[in-house]
Amino acid sequence: MAYNILIVDDSSSIRLAVKKVIEISGFDVGEYFEAANGKDALSVLEENWADVILTDIHMPVMDGISFFKEVSKDPLLSSIPVIFVTTEGSEEGIKASYKMGAKGYIKKPFKPEEIRRILVEVLGEPDGTREDTPNLEGSDF
């Protein structure tokens, strides 16, 4: 099954790094969608379906928490798992995010295997895992 993935971050380089990690993790990706803030991400979701959302918290225009609340309010979108990828990594912040309904929490700077681990938790083991899939251990972003 191919997954559509929405990556929301005001940093284009972080979006690219996350995308690269997903690609080398062996997930079968249908389409990648990108947005620089929560408002743009909601616009993307008006026209497209995402199977999982990875979002930053601190962004201009609409931050990740406000975006997540909007997604949670929508009867259709609320079923999409949301994973936070952020510099905020306190225990309290992580607990609060899970309490809100987030499916995962990745702290920057992240290790590729951390993103993969959480995506496996949310989506299951990738069908597209190849024998030549690079070992993610030891790499950082």
Binding site: D10, S90, G93, K108, D140
Partner: protein, 153 residues
């Protein structure tokens, strides 16, 4: 918490972020003789913390910023200047977030949205420690400075 302790925490965060994000190992500059050549062109990223009371500034030579971008993006060829700026801006963001986390007050301290700009003519006097919140680094001969302003100690 004393100022020395705060700067030590900031220094440790910088070492960790440069290592994990960019595979670079900064050397703290403690004396004039270790100061790398000052850059003509440099990048400056900054963000406000704690409701604009604190300001974190990251400055680094153009060559350093380019190396950071190449390492982060895993790109061997030339990197667009907009991408270099974006990576440098994100470095400041990650340093700020991890610094606050290590300080232990992240939940009570707001983090602003970082900004970045490319600057020219790095003035020598700017590197003199006018206040104690400046940290200077040598990264393979390239200049880097991190300043934190406004923290009462």
């Amino acid at each position: 918490m004393g100022q020395e302790k705060i700067l030590q925490i900031l220094k440790e965060v910088i070492f960790s972020v440069f290592d994990t994000m960019f595979f670079l190992f900064p050397e703290a500059v403690e004396s004039e003789k270790d100061l790398p050549a000052l850059p003509d062109d440099y990048f400056r990223a900054f963000l406000h913390l704690n409701d604009n009371k604190w300001l974190l500034i990251l400055r680094g030579s153009e060559k350093l910023a380019d190396t950071m971008a190449k390492n982060f993006l895993g790109q061997e060829g030339p990197v667009d200047e907009s991408d270099v700026a974006d990576v440098f801006r994100e470095a400041a963001n990650v340093i700020a977030g991890n610094f606050l986390l290590k300080l232990g007050g992240e939940d009570r301290v707001s983090i602003g949205v970082p900004e970045v700009e490319k600057c020219r003519r790095f003035h020598r006097e700017e590197t003199v420690r006018k206040f104690d919140g400046d940290l200077l680094f040598n990264l393979g001969g390239e200049f880097c400075e991190v300043s934190i302003k406004g923290i009462d100690v």
